[in-house]
């Protein structure tokens, strides 16, 4: 284990950074899921030929999403400083890093959720329409549940991206693993710290992916699978 090679002070810093990363990533993940899912729903249902066809709304929202997605994260963090101050009252620190993280990941997750929901069979939506379901009921009872495996996979991808983006949070004093790796590993010439940071990140991403895949499988009833235990 690399920990044995590290001084107690560095180990403590590593643990502290891990906590900061976990905090930033989990809060940003929850926020961007809560914001991105409605955005994804809006992109799906307003598309031509869908249940709430609004081509103008669709084009505007789609363009905004693309604009945000094409802005490099490191630039966005600095560019939205006034907005960050407005939201959290400060522009430095872990809490301040959550704002740009959320803003950057929300459109990504919105697109992933949109793709998952667009795959829902038109026939199933028509069956719901034929039953007399309203557009809102179709979203809640058909679109989201039917696309849930894909939405969960989207959350997983977004989480992994968040972990990657969070390493840049040091730019606004957000701390975290990336910040630790740069400050100790690069600026203080301590390559073992850099390696330790990378190992921790790899383990983190791997864990997220495994859990995400398991959840996606658990909510997927599209393919028959052998039932475990009793019915």
């Amino acid at each position: 284990m690399p920990f044995d090679l590290l001084s107690p002070a560095v180990t403590a810093a590593l643990v502290e950074s891990l906590k900061q990363t976990a905090f930033m990533v989990s809060v940003a993940a929850v926020l961007s899921t809560l914001l991105g899912l409605p955005l994804g729903i809006l992109l799906v249902v307003t598309a031509p030929g869908h249940i709430a066809e609004r081509p103008a709304v669709n084009r505007v929202v789609g363009t905004v999403v693309n604009l945000v997605r094409s802005t490099p994260f490191i630039i966005m963090m600095v560019a939205i400083i006034p907005f960050t101050r407005l939201v959290v009252g400060t522009t430095v620190g872990t809490a301040a890093a959550i704002v740009p993280l959320t803003l950057a990941i929300t459109p990504l997750f919105a697109r992933l959720a949109e793709t998952a929901m667009r795959e829902v069979d038109r026939g199933v939506i028509e069956a719901a329409e034929a039953i007399g379901a309203s557009p809102w009921e179709i979203v809640v009872k058909v679109l989201v549940p039917e696309a849930l495996p894909g939405i969960v996979a989207g959350v997983t991808v977004a989480l992994v991206s968040l972990i990657g983006y969070s390493t840049m949070a040091g730019t606004v004093g957000g701390g975290g693993l990336g910040d630790l790796g740069v400050r100790y590993g690069y600026q203080r010439f301590m390559p073992e710290v850099m390696v330790a940071v990378v190992v921790v990140l790899v383990v983190l991403v791997q864990a997220v992916q495994i859990v995400g895949d398991a959840v996606a499988r658990a909510v997927n009833h599209r393919i028959a699978r052998r039932r475990r235990g009793g019915v």
Binding site: V124, E129, A130, I131, G132, S134, K141, E146, H221
Partner: protein, 380 residues
Amino acid sequence: MNAPLPSESLAAGLPLAPHPPVSEPVIRIEGLSKTFSDAAGPVLDDVSLQIARGDIYGVIGRSGAGKSTLVRCINRLERPSGGRVVVSGHETSRLEGRALRTARRDIGMIFQHFNLLSSRTVAGNVALPLEVARVPKAERGPRIAALLELVGLADKAQAYPSELSGGQKQRVGIARALATAPSVLLCDEATSALDPETTQQILALLRDINRRLGLTVVLVTHEMEVVRDIASHVAVLERGRLVEEGATFDVLAFPKSPVARSFLAGIVAHELPPEIQATLSPEPQADSDPVIRIVFTGAAANEPIVADLVGRFGLRPNILHGRIDQVAGRPLGVLTLVAGDGGDGRLAAALAHLARLGLHAEVIGHALRPALARRHGGPR
């Protein structure tokens, strides 16, 4: 043998026997048109028809004839470009929003690919229309159980659709469509994805539901067998136009349009096999004999007519082609034979005799004698 038929059975065999008086139709379609794009032309063109309450009504046509669009205009999955559709007194073609959604609860629908929610169990799928109709939770359970009992899936309530066969999935579709106790059930190619045996089971279930619940069933299909087996009335669509409509037996026994005739080829022997048809000429020739098609309907199907042609009229008929089927519970036979009389009028007398029996007989062409000799005597 030659005793006059009782008038009752004669009437039963007549092609134009009046239908029983129809009560207020549950579906009324007037001048319905639908155009998706001007370049492609209309998919439906001025279609008018009425469907009586409690009927099983078949809509048949080739792919692209507009039959699915027609049925989808009934519950407004498709917006008509012109005309009116009235279902149980509601003009669905004019309704919007909440009023349309409420009207749709009176119109169940099942689909070729079942369109079940993969994320819900069988019971969950049947619960969906009840949730949408705001049926209190306490009432849903017994209702779902009764519906699954009706379609024979009581033991599959907790299964997911992916664990079911095609036939079972369609049964779930039927249970879901019936959940809100609609007065109309639309079936859009509902058996087209099923094997013949499962198709028969689903048709039997539909017939059973039709009888037990008095439900009106509208059945879109390209399979003539389906119409023959359960529809009491049928509409034939061709390129968006209604080319023929009426009681299934009448349409099958006496199709007027070429489309209906060719459609029926696999079911009723209205048309000769092509290799025999090729030997016929439309006009009499020096060495040809007339080819006669006789349509047997109802009780007249029991008459020994071939024996009559030989015994009473001294003709020597040669049977080219024939088939007898059950259509809407009545026998329907078509027999094509060649019978020459050498021009002495015996044939005309025989045809008059057949007409008196209530059989429909007509000369459809003339076969050259050598051609037939080759067919029957020579090497193939």
